[in-house]
């Protein structure tokens, strides 16, 4: 039931994204389409239990989380105006990406979740989102409302998503123990994180004005 709801949420986000695709002027928004397709396919495969290897899907979760991390890093970094900032955050993002591969291959192993790397990924995303907000504070010119700003909604969703999952992944070692409370916590946190992120993404897509076809007749 829970997986169906998530799948529905991702699907709605994908449909909204496709519907507004023509109004996207920036590449970072256009790339949401392949990302959301991948997420929908991942969730569907998870529901169908196609991803289970040795009774675990953690290997695929590693790939899915890292893919999201790479995408959102690219998304936020490309919104920065200062080349110095872009360069600095790109270096940090690449460093954490390389550490993620090391974590998967050599520290935790493929069968376990690379939670050390994930915590670092979320920490960097939180810092980048806060930097984005700080930049926005300096740019307010009294014209456009924040509520009509697509980047604001994406970053807000990302901030809540990262903040809610950060501590959960810090304590992920508990997941390998038979703890009922931990699975409840997992359900609650995942629900809060996903609902917030995807609702914000849907709003961000809707913030783009609908494109109109011009006719000469």
């Amino acid at each position: 039931m829970k997986s169906y709801l998530y799948l529905l949420l991702y699907f709605v986000a994908l449909v909204t994204c496709v519907a507004r695709y023509r109004s996207f002027k920036q590449l970072r928004y256009k790339l949401f389409v392949p990302l959301l397709v991948a997420i929908v396919l991942y969730e569907y495969s998870y529901m169908r239990k196609w991803l289970f290897i040795n009774n675990s899907t953690l290997w695929s979760a590693n790939i899915e989380i890292t893919m999201e991390y790479v995408f959102y890093c690219f998304f936020i970094v490309s919104s920065f105006r200062s080349p110095k900032e872009r360069q600095g955050f790109s270096i940090a993002a690449w460093a954490i990406f390389i550490f993620t591969i090391i974590d998967i291959l050599f520290i935790q192993g493929i069968a376990r979740l690379c939670n050390i790397a994930i915590v670092l990924q979320y920490a960097l995303l939180i810092v980048m989102v806060c930097r984005f907000f700080y930049g926005q504070l300096k740019m307010f010119d009294g014209e456009a409302s924040l509520l009509r700003h697509p980047d604001f909604w994406v970053n807000t969703g990302l901030l809540f998503f990262s903040l809610s999952e950060f501590l959960f992944f810090s304590a992920f070692s508990l997941a390998y123990t038979p703890s009922r409370y931990f699975s409840i916590l997992f359900d609650v946190i995942t629900a809060v994180a996903n609902i917030t992120l995807y609702s914000c993404l849907i709003i961000a897509f809707l913030c783009h004005p609908r494109s109109r076809k011009l006719s000469l007749s």
Binding site: L137, F140, S145, L159, F160, L167, S170, S179, L185, V192
Partner: protein, 271 residues
């Protein structure tokens, strides 16, 4: 489940809740800040618009006053003298005595020479060139010489500090303030002496104009002759200066104009 695990789960749950609250705070702050900023920008635009309006009004008033002054000067002085010359020349035709006729013609020539001098003085006192060419101190000195020669008023000037340019437009405004005060002293105050003091200090410039006239109550002045005094205040405000008036019946009148931090201001602008 062990108590350590329970504690960890509790910490994760509480910590996540705190983090989410932090997120809510950040987003709320963004909205709050934007609203404040928009209010600030709107207020600034309104103030700017009001200031522009005030400047426009003052400019129109100043222009009106200058035209009035020219009109009055042409009517009361030049017009009168030329009428007298016309009369003189008209009567000269009927005089048969050549010596008397010559006297009339000479007197008419003197009057015309006076008119030419008056016109030149009027032109000089209204012209912007005098200020841009010689500066504020020299322009005031020339005006003082003109008035002292007429014998209407005895004017003294004191300059303290090292005179330096305040910017053409500022100097012109200060010169017009001086002319306005001089006009008031001659027309309304019935003053015999006028003291002008210019103080060039490190951080500020002060212009003080004090007369020994009849003075007046500032409340009455506000009702009766307020526009001239208001003009001085408005003109001072145009260049970022403040004008104050000290007077009471029988105690003369002192006008002080204070321009602070003039060295930091753009030298040729008014702001």
């Amino acid at each position: 489940m062990s108590s350590t695990e329970q504690e960890t789960i509790f910490i994760v749950a509480a910590g996540t809740a705190m983090f989410l609250l932090l997120g809510v705070f950040i987003i709320s702050f963004m909205f709050f800040y934007q609203r404040k900023r928009i209010a600030h920008i709107t207020e600034q635009a309104q103030l700017k618009s009001a200031f522009s309006q005030e400047i426009l009004t003052t400019q129109i008033e100043v222009q009106e006053q200058t035209l009035n002054y020219i009109s009055q000067e042409l009517h009361d002085n030049i017009g009168q003298v030329l009428s007298f010359v016309k009369l003189n020349l008209g009567t000269a035709g009927t005089i048969t005595d050549l010596q008397k006729k010559q006297q009339k013609i000479d007197s008419s020539r003197d009057l015309i020479a006076q008119v030419i001098t008056d016109l030149r003085n009027l032109s000089k006192s209204l012209s912007f060139q005098q200020i841009s060419q010689y500066g504020l101190v020299k322009a005031i000195e020339a005006e003082i010489d003109r008035v002292n020669t007429s014998g209407l008023l005895k004017i003294e000037m004191k300059v303290s500090g090292e005179p330096e340019t305040l910017g053409e437009q500022r100097e012109l405004v200060l010169f017009r303030i001086f002319q306005e005060s001089l006009n008031n002293a001659l027309k309304y105050a019935h003053a015999r002496h006028l003291t002008i003091s210019l103080i060039y200090a490190e951080e500020s410039f002060n212009l003080t104009i004090a007369d020994d006239g009849i003075g007046f109550s500032t409340e009455i002045a506000g009702k009766r002759n307020g526009s001239g005094l208001k003009n001085i205040e408005s003109r001072a405000a145009l260049i970022g200066a403040t004008a104050t008036l000290e007077t009471s019946p029988g105690a003369g009148c002192t006008i002080k104009v204070n321009l602070k931090q003039y060295k930091q201001l753009q030298i040729n602008g008014t702001n």
